[in-house]
Each structure stands twice: as C-alpha cells, then as structure tokens.
C-alpha cells in the first residue's frame, strides 16, 4: 500500500494536480509516525510511511492546509473521510482545494495494546499478516493483530470512504458494529455505579486538551475554554466539577457533529474512554431522532439544528427504566 501511495502521490505532484501531499512521516520507531506534508518526490522517498500505526485522523489538518495556495493531496482512511465531509458541511475546509484519496482500512493497531500485552522496550514490529512480531529489548513476542487493534477499530462503524476524488483499492462497507455495547452497559448500571465509573475516569483528566485539539469536530477559531470572555475558560481541573464541565460541554458542542472517529480516546494520555461520552449522544440521537451518522452526507441537517413537531419531551430521560 505504502508503495502504491508514494507512486500515486508522485504522479499527482508531477502532473500538477496537487502541489503537496498530506500523509505520515516515519519516526524513531515503527509506531511513532507523525502527520506531515510532503512537497517533493524526494521528501516522499525519504520519510513517507504508511503502516498499521497510521491512526491519526488527517482531516483536521485540512482545515489549515486547504486554505493554502494550491491543491493538497490527502490520504484519508474511511474514518477520516467522514470527518472531511462534516468539515465540508460546516465550511471549515475548502473542499475544492483537496484531492482526497480514499484508503481501504482494516483497522489500525494501538501500540498501547501491544505494551499491555507485555511488550516492553519495543525496538521493531514486523508485520506477519494476522500477527505482529514485536522485537523488544528483552526478546521477541508475537501478538495477534486482532488483539492489538485500537478500540475504535475493533468496533469499526464503517470501512466505507464517503468522500474521495480517487480510491486506492476497493471501497468497504458500513459495518454492523457493537460500538454502543459499552454505552448500553453503562446505561444499565445504577446511577450510583455510573457516577462512580465516571468519577473514576474523569478524575484522571489533566486538562491537557489533547482530546479537543485532536478532534476534527473541535476546530473552533477560539474554544470557549480558551476564551477568557466566555466565563468558563480554564486550563486546569481545579475542582472535579471542572473536569465534568469540560467534558460535558465538549461532548455537547460536538453532539450531532461527532463522526465517532475515536481520536479523543486514542490521544488521551490518561486513557479516559472519552468516546463513550460522544457515543452516548450518538446513541441517544439515533434512538430519539432517528439514525444519523455525522459526515455520511454533506447535505444532511444535523440533529441539533433540526427538530420535528413530534420530538420526545426531555422527560423521556426521567421515564427511563433503570435509575
């Protein structure tokens, strides 16, 4: 795949379709790849990489990149194409300045999962088809790829690229995923249990803003939490209320816009399952207002900028069975 991508990128650079390429750059190790912009075939040859650890959602970089001179080639995974559509719908990117190449995706690996499987001191990772052979300072280890999948990929919502100018390989299909299972499990707990669960999770928050800054839906010119005029600006969880405020408001601001790409949980240094907040809103929206997938359709009206006369009352929350 990597070779095909480099080849195609060079062609598009050569024929003038694009003047730069948004992809991933090789790092110190197999897994620490970095999103990067490549302007020449030489740069591509030098460090362009595409492997199982290219999990970052590149669409957010297009907010800035698509406003620059000339067209940018962007390699996008199915997840990233949903985000691009959503950003297009919100006029956050200039779609005409993007040449999107959709990539097939069978799920990305999570290096944390490898480490959790006991691989310490990773010096190399060899792709063995269904397995990874992990070379470490303390010996080799084999881990099934399925066990190393990121959570969001294990519960993949769609392998379909929903917007692209060209596809590399076959387009996938929307998946019948179990992504709401954990949300449902939480819903079925008692309020006390839910409170204990979230208190435990959110109390770890260090307000590093990685979730927000990685989120393709959080592209505000100025976030309310950074804006002293907003009245709720803060940079530290000075009280446990602040953690909740930040995460509730953030989830609310992206409600109906979040494509469930899972970047928030991927980047959280404290491993807080933030996607469970967004998925709660997605699940509620699906159940109360009809199925909706943000980013699936550029022309769709988001559920929070829409209504029907017959919408349920907020008391529906109070009438739910489990307390």
């Amino acid at each position: 795949m990597q070779e095909a991508m480099i080849r195609r990128a060079k062609e598009l650079l050569a024929d003038g379709t694009v003047n730069r390429v948004l992809g991933w750059q090789r790092g110190e190790f197999v897994y620490d790849v970095t999103p990067a912009v490549f302007a020449s075939p030489d740069e591509l040859d030098a460090s362009f990489v595409y492997n199982d650890f290219c999990g970052a959602n590149l669409s957010k970089y297009l907010v800035a990149e698509s406003r620059k001179e000339g067209k940018v080639l962007a390699f996008l995974k199915p997840c990233d194409t949903y985000s691009l559509n959503q950003l297009t719908a919100e006029h956050r990117v200039v779609r005409e300045n993007i040449y999107a190449i959709g990539l097939p995706c069978e799920g990305k690996a999570d290096v944390e999962a490898l480490k959790a499987a006991g691989a310490a001191g990773i010096t190399g990772i060899a792709d063995g088809g269904d397995t990874f052979t992990v070379h470490t300072l303390y010996g080799d280890q084999t881990v099934a790829k399925a066990d190393a999948l990121a959570e969001r990929c294990a519960n993949c919502k769609s392998k379909q690229c929903v917007t692209y100018d060209e596809l590399l390989g076959e387009n996938g299909a929307v998946q019948n995923s179990h992504r709401f299972d954990m949300v449902e499990q939480l819903e079925n707990m008692t309020a006390d249990e839910r409170y204990a669960f979230w208190q435990g999770e959110l109390s770890r928050c260090i307000r590093c803003n990685a979730c927000r800054n990685a989120c393709p839906a959080c592209t505000c010119e100025k976030c309310v939490f950074d804006n002293p005029q907003s009245g709720i600006a803060n940079t530290a969880p000075a009280d446990s209320f602040e953690e909740k405020l930040f995460h509730i408001i953030r989830a609310f601001h992206v409600a109906g816009r979040c494509t469930d790409c899972g970047e928030c949980s991927r980047v959280c240094p404290q491993h807080i399952p933030l996607h469970l907040l967004n998925r709660k809103f997605i699940k509620d929206i699906n159940e109360l207002y009809g199925p909706y997938q943000a980013g699936a359709d550029v022309a769709a009206r988001g559920p929070l900028t829409d209504f029907t006369f017959e919408d349920c009352e907020p008391s529906v929350v109070h009438e739910r069975g489990v307390n």
């Binding site: 110190e28 970095t34 001191g121 300072l137 590093c208 800054n213 990685a214 600006a233 803060n234 969880p237």
Partner: protein
C-alpha cells in the same frame, strides 16, 4: 547498605506509612500513577507513571490565597500550608533528577515558598530501573539509573530489595524502619546494577547530539527554518508539558467562588495559545513559535542560565504520549548538531 526480602516489601511500606503519608506507584485503569499507599496493593512494575513525580512538590493546581469581600471591604486570607510529612517511594532516576532541576527554578531567589514548603516535607525513595524501555534516554543527560539518587536509593534483584540512604532525611527514614532491614555489603546491589547497565547499552536512543545547543548558537537555532517543519503536526495540546517532569510554567488565576475570590496557580503550557497572554496580546502568535519556545527553553535557555544543565531528564513520557508523535528527541536529532 540495607536489604529486605521482596516478600516483606509490603511490611516495609506499611511501616513507612505508619508515621507519614506514603505514595507509591500502582497500576490502575489509566496506567501507573502515584497513589496513596493502600496495604496489600502491589507496586507497579511499569517503568514510569503516566504523570511525573513533580506533582508532589508542584501540584497541577495549588491554592495561594483567598480574598473575602464584605460589602465594599476586602479581606485577604492566607491558605493553610500543607504541613504533613510524606514519602514518595519508587521514584525513577529521571524523575529524581527533575527535582534538582525544579529546585534551581523554585528555590533560587525569589524562593517559591509553596514549593519550598512541600519540598521540606517530602522524602524521596528512588528505585533503580530494571527494564529500561526504548523511549528512555536519560543517559544522554548524564543520569545514571543505577545510581537513582533521592534521599534513599533502592535496587532490586530476584530476591531482595537493597536500600541506601543518601541524605540525613533518608537515613532518618531508614532508621525508622530499621527493625525490618538487614545489613548488606555495599556491593550487594552490583548484580542488579550490572543488569540494568547491560540493558541501557542496547537502548535505541543514545548519544544524542546535544553539543550544538550552546548559548553561542542561541540565535542560529532560534532562527533555524526547520522549526516550521518540526512543529507542523503539533496540535497545540499540553500533553507533553503536563506529563513532563521538568516543565514548570504556571498561571495564576482568580476564581470567584460566590463568597470570595480563590487565587490559585495551575500548570500552564507554552503550547497553549493563551500562554503568557498579556494586555497587548500573545507574544508567540503561531504554533511554530510556541513549539520552538518549549524546546528552546529546555535545550538552550535553561542550560544557558543553569551551568549547562538541560531541562530534560530523558524520561521518555513525551515520546509515549504525544498524540502525533512529536518529541524532544526528534528536535535534538534535527537541530543538535555542532553549529558552525
């Protein structure tokens, strides 16, 4: 040097916790963290905690004072300073070194009395790394993980824990639990140290080119065009800053509680757009400048002011945590070569 059978570890911790608050690294849902010692909970075997040990002396938020308003009068209240003695057990050499770097900042004039107070009440027990990982590069900054420092250093082999006091405070701590410890020769931990040294020799990140970061190259590095490229992917989050043991920037904020003003300080990050914002605006307006600031500070400004000590201890947390895998090693490798 003292020693203790590993099976008696919990007895030792329980004894330490008797007279002082004891913090130990344990595993939890989000990874290893320093937590209040709970009898029976095993120590984490993770190389490092998610957050560094700097929190004990420089917590993320710290109350500084309160203002009370009665009608149109204002009254100021000093906060009660924490005065309990505590022990942090299991600090790695890198984090232990970070305290020395923080001391240079907070204990030089004007002394930061909040930090000083916490420092005075804390005893640090370090732990020699058993299995350093690929992200480790403390040796690049002259840190020897086999001599982890702190008030008490410890080493460990398959059977025993070896302890040696480095300071009077450390000695006092060991005296308090002397009944659990047996004497051991000074060479008792040598095997453990040798094992660690062998592992260190295989680390992929070594021999970083730090020579070029001298003060004389300040402007050349500052103006290096590669910053733009190096920082291009930076999301501007504060993860690197907040997990870093040596980042020391903070903001002071007033919070109106409804019945008074709480003045507190909290960590700030030079990666943030609001960092050091003042009346005229923000001196560093783009992410390139913010990114450059962080590394210029660690690699150039700090050593220039502190006898050449870099403000990095090579703990590797930023390598592990950066959402887009940017880190100080990539910067050093790109810019650290000898300047003309």
């Amino acid at each position: 040097m003292k020693s203790l059978l590993l099976k008696d570890m919990d007895r030792l911790l329980a004894a330490l916790a008797e007279n002082r608050t004891l913090y130990v690294p344990t595993d939890g849902a989000g990874g290893a963290e320093y937590r209040l010692y709970q009898p029976g909970t095993p120590l984490s075997e993770a190389l490092n905690t998610n957050r560094s040990a700097k929190d004990f002396f420089f917590p993320q938020t710290e109350n500084m004072m309160r203002f009370q308003m009665r009608g149109k009068e204002i009254r100021i209240e000093e906060p009660t300073r924490p005065d309990e003695d505590f022990v942090v057990f299991g600090v790695r050499a890198c984090d232990a070194r970070s305290f020395e770097l923080l001391d240079k900042v907070f204990l030089s004039e004007p002394v930061d009395s909040y930090y000083q107070n916490r420092r005075a009440h804390g005893v640090i027990v370090t732990r020699c790394c058993g299995r350093p990982e690929e992200t480790c590069f403390c040796t690049a900054f002259g840190i020897d993980p086999t001599a982890p420092g702190g008030d008490v250093s410890t080493w460990q082999d398959d059977q025993r824990l070896y302890l040696a006091a480095n300071t009077p405070a450390g000695q006092a701590l060991l005296n308090g639990v002397a009944h659990l410890l047996t004497d051991a020769p000074e060479t008792a931990a040598d095997d453990a140290k040798a094992k660690t040294r062998a592992a260190l020799a295989n680390l992929p990140i070594q021999n970083l080119p730090l020579d070029g970061f001298g003060e004389e190259n300040l402007l050349a590095i500052f103006n290096d065009p590669r910053w733009a490229e190096l920082s291009r992917a930076c999301l501007g989050c504060g993860t690197c800053t907040f997990v870093c043991p040596t980042c020391q920037c903070y903001d002071i904020k007033d919070f109106d509680t409804g019945h008074g003003i709480q003045r507190f300080r909290c960590w700030d990050s030079c990666m943030y757009s609001e960092f050091t914002r003042c009346a005229h605006g923000n001196p560093r307006v783009s992410q390139v400048e913010r990114f450059r600031q962080r590394f210029m500070h660690k690699l150039v400004y700090f050593p220039a002011n502190n006898q050449g000590d870099f403000s990095c201890v090579g703990c590797g947390r930023c390598l592990q945590k950066c959402p887009v895998s940017l880190n100080i090693v990539k910067v050093i490798k790109a810019l650290g070569g000898e300047k003309a």
